[in-house]
């Protein structure tokens, strides 16, 4: 393992000598691209399993309270949800282009793309906040009187909105974590600890952002679109 008295994260090649006297560079985490990528994929799969369990719960309730779920879904704001879908789509593009620029040596361009992704992530959170505020004003929010038994909504609708706030809230939390990771990435790029030669951190954070996008690809139709037909007939 490489050690450095100034910064334990700085990439310092360490040399190991085999029995024949041949020297080999010992890989640190920044240098082991494939290992770091595989490790991060394993972490992301735990996220898939966590959200998978939540979707499973949602499916269970959806099957038991089909009509209530469709009715509740039709009450959500598809326009704001749709805007956020497109915002996330473009943020995945800026993140991908940023990584591409980093790999091709354009560090300044990469930083610009990361800032663009952060901006789009903030837009996503802003739209989500607006949507939740509208929901609150319409009496749809966790803990409100209208969301209790006997408060006017059916049991299935209460379950639907409970899952809606839980899952979109957890997804929003992932967006906030993503913004933090991107700011950390910018800091490490500025201190030259992430560079075109050692960009695994950038690669993995881009993967994380794609996962956040991927989860929304299912969250959006599940909550917003299943009840769309209830309005259109």
């Amino acid at each position: 393992m490489a050690h450095d008295s100034h910064d334990s994260h700085e990439y310092v090649p360490e040399i190991a000598v085999d029995r024949n006297g041949k020297e080999h560079v010992v890989q640190g985490w920044q240098g082991d691209f494939d290992g770091a990528k595989l490790g991060f994929w394993l972490f992301m799969l735990t996220e898939v399993l966590m959200f998978g369990a939540m979707f499973m719960t949602l499916t269970y309730y959806f099957t038991l309270h089909h009509a209530d779920f469709i009715h509740a879904s039709s009450e959500l704001d598809r326009t704001l949800g749709g805007i956020n879908t497109v915002v996330l789509l473009f943020s995945a593009l800026t993140m991908g282009l940023g990584l591409l620029k980093m790999r091709s040596g354009d560090v300044k361009g990469a930083k610009l793309m990361i800032w663009a992704t952060i901006l789009l992530a903030l837009v996503f959170l802003g739209v989500k906040a607006l949507e939740w505020t509208n929901d609150y004003n319409e009496g749809i929010f966790l803990g409100l009187e209208t969301m209790q038994a006997g408060g006017g909504k059916s049991f299935g609708e209460i379950l639907f909105f409970g899952m809606y706030f839980t899952m979109t809230g957890l997804h929003g939390f992932h967006i906030i974590i993503g913004i933090g990771l991107m700011l950390w990435l910018l800091k490490r790029i500025n201190s030259k600890k992430v560079s075109p030669e050692h960009h695994i951190l950038h690669f993995n954070i881009a993967l994380y952002w794609d996962l956040v996008h991927l989860i929304w690809v299912f969250v959006f139709p599940y909550f917003y679109m299943t009840g769309a037909g209830a309005i259109h007939g």
């Binding site: 890989q27 920044q30 240098g31 082991d32 691209f33 990528k37 595989l38 994929w41 394993l42 799969l45 898939v48 399993l49 998978g52 369990a53 979707f55 499973m56 499916t59 269970y60 309730y61 099957t63 038991l64 309270h65 598809r78 749709g82 879908t85 497109v86 789509l89 473009f90 995945a92 593009l93 282009l97 591409l100 620029k101 790999r103 091709s104 038994a149 006997g150 049991f155 379950l159 030669e197 050692h198 960009h199 695994i200 690669f203 993967l207 794609d210 996962l211 996008h213 991927l214 690809v217 299912f218 959006f220 139709p221 599940y222 679109m225 299943t226 769309a228 037909g229 259109h232 007939g233």
Partner: protein, 108 residues
């Protein structure tokens, strides 16, 4: 070892934009489907479109195309989720405890 593969910037950038257009078209399809076609099976169609979008994101944005080890690891994880999904669907389709359950009616 650092990833020193040669970057064909123009070609890869073009690829990113092509994927964007594809995903935007599928998103548009998501919006128009409930009022345009196959309205009786909206949920199934929406999930199908979502799956196609997810596959495109995995292959091209998450660089799984050509990744054998990670690709199979992902397939395994998704298999576990789908496996338990199937069990849940079978179970809930034969739900027998509506009278005493707290998830089918308010707790008594």
């Amino acid at each position: 070892m650092a990833n020193h593969t040669t970057v064909d910037y123009k070609a890869e950038k073009g690829g990113y934009y092509k994927v964007l257009v594809g995903l935007l078209l599928l998103t548009a399809l998501t919006f128009i489907q409930p009022s345009m076609f196959l309205t009786d099976i909206t949920f199934g169609i929406q999930m199908l479109i979502g799956t196609v979008k997810a596959w495109i994101i995995l292959m091209y944005y998450m660089h799984l195309k050509g990744e054998k080890l990670i690709g199979w690891t992902v397939v395994f994880a998704v298999f576990i989720v789908v496996f338990f999904f199937t069990i849940v669907i079978i179970d809930v389709s034969n739900f027998q405890y509506a009278d005493v359950s707290h998830i089918t009616s308010p707790a008594k």
